[in-house]
């Protein structure tokens, strides 16, 4: 199919979309006049019921915990796909990749930044159900802070902290842990993912009960998944390019 045919099909479809959008906009409540009821209801009952002050996290890991498990496995499946496509057995690893960052300022500042970013990420995960944050956000931040190691030092230092052997178990345990916590409730005769540990004290780390552990397993899964993606792309495409540069 040529580009011209595609555009010829797209334009009438766009017109139809415009009509449907206009129709929808006529009937939609004005911006800022949310009608509910779920948002209003959850904002009122989440703290008394679940003792979690961050209602968003209580929705992610408790009220809609089953749905989030599905999302986690989309993540897991996507990472599995990338690994299957990119991780080749007989990959030639150039031993002498001379890509160390020359500037001392960048190295020192970078290493300090890695420490600070890792701490902030762990705090984001740990306090995810108390203050803004949570396993997904903290996990993504944690992965980014580890990638800083590659940016401010060298590929050698990076492969020391982010190797397949270290990351694969984390990814599996993160995804599997979520299910195991859910099944734990079944053993006690309760519905899947029921908060068996009790709600705890609001506003402290000991609030959220089981959801706190689900939160950590999601954080682990997201961080490991993102790091696996980075290692695969760096090893498969960045390293050969860099090796070619130094050779030529």
């Amino acid at each position: 199919m040529t580009r011209r045919i595609r555009v010829a099909i797209f334009l009438p479809a766009l017109g139809l979309f415009g009509v449907l959008l206009a129709w929808a906009l006529v009937g939609i409540p004005d911006f800022g006049h949310y009608r509910g009821p779920y948002g209003y209801l959850l904002n009122r009952v989440a703290l008394p019921e679940r003792h979690m002050t961050n209602v968003v996290t209580s929705v992610v890991f408790d009220y809609r915990g089953f749905d989030t498990m599905g999302e986690e496995f989309i993540l897991f499946a996507a990472v599995l796909g990338v690994v299957l496509l990119l991780r080749q057995g007989g990959r030639e690893q150039p031993d002498e990749l001379n890509d160390s960052v020359g500037s001392d300022g960048v190295r020192i500042g970078g290493v300090l930044a890695v420490g600070a970013c890792v701490l902030v990420s762990l705090w984001l995960i740990a306090y995810g159900f108390v203050t803004p944050g949570g396993g997904f956000q903290g996990g993504a931040a944690l992965a980014s802070s580890v990638v800083l190691v590659f940016l401010v030092s060298s590929h050698k230092a990076w492969s020391g902290v982010a190797s397949d052997h270290a990351l694969d178990p984390f990814d599996g345990v993160g995804a599997g842990g979520y299910v195991v916590i859910g099944l734990g409730a079944l053993i006690g005769g309760l519905p899947f993912l029921t908060n068996v540990l009790g709600p705890g004290v609001p506003g402290t780390l000991w609030s959220g009960g089981s959801a706190a552990f689900v939160n950590w397993s999601a954080g682990m899964e997201v961080a490991a998944a993102n790091l696996i993606l980075f290692t695969e792309f760096i090893d498969e495409y960045v390293v050969p390019l860099a090796a070619g540069d130094t050779a030529g």
């Binding site: 580009r3 968003v56 209580s58 992610v60 999302e71």
Partner: protein, 114 residues
Amino acid sequence: MSVFPYLVAGWICVIGLYGIVTSKHLIHLALCLTVTQSSTYVLLLAVGYVQGGGPPIFKGVKLGTTAVDPVVQSLTLTDIVVSVTVLALILALALDVHDELDTMDPDRIAELQG
């Protein structure tokens, strides 16, 4: 202009689709798909916004204070993280196509297959 955020969501969706339809490069195509997906975040957050509402976090804020809908926020945040990994999968496929067929043009792929 009480429907303005919804129009923005519609515009982002359409501009991304236009990019997909007219794309000449697989990586450009994958990024356009991400643009289209981003329109759902704008739409979701716009739907859940309450006039004058704060974040749905009640640490140090009295329970019952007006806050925006937490459900759409939780949907958005999980979707952002998942979309990154799915984008990585699409890019990996694009790189595989490049290795096999030595082209990144979606039209050329169809020619080579036929």
